[in-house]
């Protein structure tokens, strides 16, 4: 049994060759159609992610969520899109028009481009470049640029402050994210995502649970969602970088963020949860898509869970957590994985997997001890009496 996409591609091949087109043109047309297909597929999912996200937040907050339009409120996101489309687009006075209009396009387009290298099933993927991981890191970096452009061009102080914070955050969390991505690359000995997925006869989350945790946390920070949503902290800087955007331009940022959340889920499931792998996925590629999306949406749910459960952190806490905890930790994990991989190169799979797993668990136990100690120190520091300003300007330390 074949894959519907492969069937369509073969049919198209026959049709175009039958028309007497040269091989090069056939490849070009098929590639363009594939690109358009993936983009539309991803955008349709994106529209319904709005519904899913609203249902999630409603359930987390013990509400019902959208339930009026259509069954379970499924038509609601389409109504939302129509509403956004007929809203007036306001360009603030003094804004840098080209950059201002380019920023929302970049914000969504970069996330769509990420899906080019994510394999949905053994036979269904955009492309299998041999530097897929590097491509993901590079394109992910461009989305930072979109946010900086939005903040800079809006001619608004809050937008600019939000952009500063976002760039500081994204730039910082890029480091542990990329270092934790090196671990699956070492385990699979390849940067191509298809190879990484097909190498996972044992899911990499069992071989490298700490790296998976680092990847989840740092890519959650890259999303700019709570608890890392200082870029759009309503109580401090109103709405951050997208404060001056209205209508569909705001919608682009919103859609980009939601789609990025699902992309993080998809990447996590590709790198650590075995992607399309599952019982019978090799024989029936169509099953691979089902497994892949089950895993991706499960991770999306975890990301949403984190977002709606945790309070926002301060910028100093955000930077401390990254530079003093995640980055050294990711370096330790990288060194550990590299050394163990070399030492256990000729042992059987189970010894290899078992020692990887137990070393990681040991590391996790040490980590919890370190976090416990630093938490105790922080609580002690906060509990100390602080100088308070008196009306006459004299500072004094209150006696407890």
């Amino acid at each position: 049994m074949g894959d519907p996409v492969v069937l369509i591609a073969n049919w198209l091949d026959g049709l175009l060759v039958g028309w007497g087109l040269a091989d090069g043109w056939v490849t070009l047309i098929k590639t363009i159609l594939g690109g358009v297909g993936i983009s539309i597929f991803v955008l349709v999912i994106d529209i319904f992610l709005v519904w899913l996200e609203r249902k999630f937040v409603a359930r987390f907050q013990d509400r019902l969520g959208p339930n009026r339009l259509g069954p379970f409120g499924l038509i609601q996101p389409i109504a939302d899109v129509i509403k956004l489309l007929i809203k007036e687009n306001i360009t603030p006075a003094g804004a840098d028009k080209y950059i201002y209009n380019l920023a929302p396009i970049i914000a969504l387009a970069t996330v769509i481009s990420l899906w080019a290298v994510i394999p949905l099933s053994p036979t269904m993927f955009g492309t299998d470049v041999n530097v897929g991981v590097l491509y993901i890191v590079a394109i992910g970096g461009i989305s930072t640029l979109g946010i900086l452009m939005a903040g800079w061009s809006s001619n608004n102080k809050y937008a600019l402050l939000g952009a500063f914070r976002t760039v500081a955050q994204l730039v910082s969390y890029e480091i542990p994210m990329v270092i934790s991505l090196l671990v699956p690359v070492i385990l699979a000995k390849s940067m191509g995502i298809n190879t990484i997925v097909s190498e996972q006869s044992i899911w990499f989350i069992f071989l490298a649970p700490v790296a998976a945790l680092i990847f989840l946390i740092s890519s959650h920070a890259e999303l700019g969602r709570a608890p890392f949503d200082l870029a759009e902290a309503e109580s401090e800087i109103v709405a951050g970088f997208h404060i001056e955007y209205t209508g569909m331009k705001f919608g682009m940022f919103y859609a980009g963020e939601l789609l990025h959340a699902l992309t993080v889920g998809a990447l996590f499931s590709s790198f650590f949860l075995g992607g399309w792998q599952g019982p019978g996925a090799e024989a029936f590629p169509i099953l691979g898509i089902v497994y892949f999306f089950i895993k991706a949406f499960a991770m999306y749910w975890v990301v949403a869970w984190l977002k709606y459960s945790l309070p926002r952190i301060r910028i100093d806490q955000m930077l401390n957590f990254n530079w003093k905890f995640l980055t050294p930790l990711s370096l330790v994990v990288l060194l550990l994985t590299a050394t163990l991989d070399r030492l256990l190169i000729n042992t059987s799979t189970w010894i290899y997997a078992g020692s990887m797993f137990f070393t990681n668990i040991l590391l996790l136990i040490v980590l919890f001890q370190i976090m416990k100690r630093s938490g105790r120190r922080e609580r002690k520091r906060v509990a100390e009496p602080k100088p308070i300003a008196r009306p006459d300007g004299v500072r004094s330390v209150p006696t407890p």
């Binding site: 490849t27 358009v36 007036e88 969504l108 809050y158 500081a168 331009k249 060194l335 590299a338 050394t339």
Partner: protein
């Protein structure tokens, strides 16, 4: 091989088309009634004061510098990770030394207090 990159090149061109289309539709169907008051920059409901392109805190620059160091490190580590099986044991030692040298840089910035947010 070349076809793989053809797809990447094309999707980078195709992906912006959909956001651009979505931004062009409101040009036709959305109302457009600009007004000097409506177009004013938002600032807590009062009139804006001074230039909005404010100076930024120099600490952001420090963090950007540290980021740059680590980012370059990672670019060098990726080929090392991919060719890991074909490398002799010496390469592992070399990689560890390379990571440790940069970790020493992190420790140095930490001790110097660059990582503290004032």
């Amino acid at each position: 091989m070349l076809n793989d990159w053809l797809f990447i090149g094309l999707i980078v061109l195709i992906a912006p088309v959909f956001p651009i289309l979505a931004l062009l539709i409101p040009r036709i169907i959305a109302p457009k009634k600009p007004h000097p008051l409506k177009n004013q920059t938002y600032e807590c409901g009062i009139e804006t004061v001074g230039d909005s392109w404010i100076q930024f805190k120099v600490q952001y620059y420090n963090f950007a510098l540290i980021f740059l160091i680590f980012d370059v490190e990672i670019v060098f580590l990726f080929p090392w990770a991919v060719a890991y099986n074909q490398l002799p044991l010496f390469a592992l030692v070399e990689g560890i030394l390379f990571i440790l040298i940069l970790a020493a840089g992190l420790v140095y910035t930490w001790r110097k207090g660059v990582l503290e947010w004032h």
